[in-house]
């Protein structure tokens, strides 16, 4: 690096000649002296030295056989060359150079090529005024309602006032970091946990920013905030689970309600359908019985008309037709019982079993009406014969 190049932005504990200052102590030799020493060292290097005797302050160049005039001449030329070199400097587009003339603030130079008086003017610092610097902070802190919240904050700022930034505060970045943390915690201390986590985040951001800018203005540090973001506020990891459970609980609540709603949506239409069916069936019944009644009544009326014309004959006819129709389909046993008080026992079940034992294995004893329907005509004949036999036997006994 060129030996007069100013140190980088934040390392402002160096003077323009790259020497570390002994901080807080009186520094012995003044700057010019140091310059000279430096100069000598450089000189001997340039001359392909190796014989650079770094005489404390004295300029016994090489101790060679050169005459005094020559030495002085060389020195003068070198000094002039250095002065020329030292009097021109450039400032980058993004920077402002803080120039001190014999220690006093002289000028704040804008981008471009500039001249300065060598040895008298020094560039204290070239401050980058457009670069957005950022500071990120994450920690846990107390809220106003005595909960703990973990916060991540990003502060973006610019050193807009290069003079203040370079000259007023020893560690601008450290001051900013401290002030930012303080402002953040202060505002968080005034907020509730709920505000910190949800509803108040924007307001907190605004308040922190305002507060921090106030602090910085009072330090005169030449920093302007570009942006302040509370990126993340979350409950401490120790209780994260409980917070997650609340979210789950909220979903559970919704789920339970939805399930109940689904149940309602399921049973009500079915009930409506059922109701509809009942009504339809009732309506059907009503129409059916009315229709049947009407039909039967009409039929009766018609028959009655015929009956009224010839009552006896019609009555006789109907009676006979009906009975013959009935007897036609049934197996008949004529029992001529002389004495009406005679109790006659016909073990019908048994008879039927005997008749059908070969073909059906119906359970005994419980009303054979249904079984009887299944009998073939030969079985019925069989059965009839058995009954007749039995009857005969009884009559014999009587």
């Amino acid at each position: 690096m060129a030996w007069n190049e100013p140190p980088n932005g934040n390392n402002n504990d160096q003077d323009p000649w790259g020497n570390r200052r002994r901080r807080g102590n009186n520094d012995g030799p003044p700057d010019l002296d140091e310059l000279f020493k430096q100069f000598n060292e450089k000189l001997s290097k340039w001359l392909g030295g190796g014989k650079g005797n770094k005489g404390g302050g004295s300029n016994k160049g090489g101790g060679s056989a050169g005459s005094l005039g020559a030495i002085i001449g060389i020195l003068v030329v070198l000094v002039i060359a250095y002065a020329a070199y030292d009097s021109i400097y450039t400032v980058d587009e993004s920077e402002r150079a803080v120039v001190l003339r014999l220690g006093k603030f002289h000028a704040l130079e804008t981008p471009g090529l500039h001249f300065k008086v060598p040895f008298i003017d020094a560039i204290d610092q070239k401050v980058n005024v457009t670069e957005v610097r950022s500071y990120r902070h994450q920690s846990s802190m107390l809220t106003g309602d005595e909960n703990i919240v973990s916060v991540t904050m990003t502060v973006e700022y610019r050193a807009v006032n290069a003079r203040d930034f370079a000259l007023n505060v020893r560690q601008p970045e450290t001051s900013l970091a401290n002030a930012a943390e303080s402002a953040l915690r202060h505002v968080m201390g005034s907020a509730t946990l709920e505000q910190a986590l949800t509803v108040g985040r924007d307001a907190i951001q605004v308040a922190v920013r305002e507060r921090l800018q106030n602090y910085l203005d009072s330090y005169n540090v030449g920093i302007e905030l570009a942006q302040l973001n509370i990126n993340d506020t979350s409950p401490p990891s120790a209780v994260q689970e409980a917070f997650d459970d609340v979210i789950k609980a909220r979903e559970d609540e919704q789920r339970l309600i939805n399930e109940a709603q689904a149940y309602a949506n399921q049973i009500l239409p079915v009930a409506e359908g059922n109701a509809r069916r009942q009504l339809e069936e009732a309506q059907a019944y009503k129409e059916e019985v009315v229709a049947r009644a009407t039909g039967e009544a009409d039929r009766f009326t018609d028959i009655l008309a015929a009956y009224n014309e010839a009552p006896d004959v019609t009555r006789q006819r109907l009676y006979l037709e009906t009975l013959s129709g009935i007897y036609e389909n049934a197996s008949k046993v004529l029992v001529d019982v002389e004495n009406g008080n005679n109790l006659m026992y016909l073990p019908l079940d048994q008879l039927r079993r005997n008749a059908t034992g070969s073909s059906s294995a119906s359970g005994g004893g419980n009303g054979g009406g249904s079984d009887i329907n299944n009998l073939s005509s030969s079985e019925i004949r069989n059965l009839t014969d058995q009954i007749l036999g039995e009857l005969d036997r009884r009559r014999g006994n009587n």
């Binding site: 807080g24 005459s67 220690g103 005595e146 505060v169 209780v239 309602a264 009409d298 004529l334 329907n373």
Partner: protein
């Protein structure tokens, strides 16, 4: 190279050296005092180029920029005897170089820092001791509610505490030649064991909230179900009512129709209806009938004239 030359060279060098020794520059960032045999002869030299007598006077320079002092976290007790870990930082600068030089035995910054730190610690300790935890954290009184919703009020006791402490310290720091620009609490944290208590309280708060959500869900679900069940019951009951009414209407109508028809000849009706009933009763065949040959039907079986 002759002796004369060497002499000239040496003289020249000496001259330069002397010049350098008698000139010094004070920059914008510095404050300087001039000492003559250790005694301060000139304090607070302005920035610029100055002269001094070489070897007799010496110049001490101090940083005049704002210096940040970050204190170590300290444990303070609030008025209700709760412990707090407090971390503060101080922005200060040298205000009066002469006082500073004498008070800190030659401008030793470490010394200045440690004096300041102990003073600030005791100042903060007093300030904390007069206030409750709530006051120092939130700046609100015990009974004063915090702002809610999207509004933050961060002005309060906490700012006042800082201002008062700063003023106090400044009164004292005057003698040190120091001006305290700002004292700020970076962090107020609960001690480890108290943090655990806070965590468990936060946890139980959340658990309560979760329970509230779940039971509220259950309540609403139960209400929805019950209401659905009720509606179903009502719908079915109403349907039953209407159905029965319809059936009744049908039955009534039918009965009226029957009555109108059959009322024309009740005797014939009972005869006719009985026959119909017989037919329906024995219509499936397979019945076994035990018949009395004496019945009317068999009249002509017994006798061709049917008299018996």
């Amino acid at each position: 190279m002759s002796n004369r030359n060497a002499l000239v060279l040496v003289a020249l060098a000496l001259l330069v050296f002397l010049g350098i020794q008698s000139l010094y520059v004070v920059t914008e960032k510095e404050r300087a005092i001039k000492l003559k045999f250790g005694e301060v002869v000139q304090a607070d030299l302005p920035p610029g180029l100055h002269l001094k007598i070489p070897f007799i006077e010496e110049v001490r320079k101090f940083d005049r920029r704002i210096i940040t002092l970050d204190t170590d976290p300290e444990r303070f007790i609030t008025s209700e005897q709760k412990g707090l870990e407090v971390d503060a930082y101080i922005q200060w600068r040298i205000d009066n170089v002469r006082d500073y030089y004498t008070a800190t035995s030659g401008g030793d910054m470490f010394r200045a820092n440690s004096i300041l730190e102990s003073r600030i610690n005791s100042g903060l300790r007093d300030a904390f001791g007069l206030r409750t935890l709530r006051e120092v954290v939130s700046g609100r009184g015990q009974e004063e509610p915090l702002s809610t919703g999207g509004r933050i009020e961060d002005e309060g006791e906490r700012d006042r505490l800082m201002r008062q402490t700063t003023q106090q310290i400044n009164q004292f720091a005057d003698g040190l030649g120091i001006e305290v620009i700002d004292i700020r609490i970076k962090a107020i944290d609960l001690p480890q064991e108290v943090s655990q208590d806070v965590f468990s309280r936060m946890r139980s708060d959340r658990e309560q909230e979760a329970r509230r959500f779940r039971s509220n869900g259950e309540r609403q679900a139960e209400e929805i179900r019950a209401s659905a069940d009720r509606q179903r019951t009502v719908i079915l009951a109403e349907a039953f009512r209407e159905a029965e009414q319809l059936r009744g209407e049908g039955d009534g109508e039918a009965a009226r129709i029957y009555a109108r028809a059959y009322g024309q000849n009740e005797d014939f009706y009972s005869f006719y209806r009985s026959l119909q009933a017989y037919r329906e009763s024995f219509n499936d065949g397979g019945d076994l009938m035990l018949l009395d040959p004496q019945s009317d039907f068999f009249r002509f079986m017994r006798d061709q004239n049917g008299v018996n």
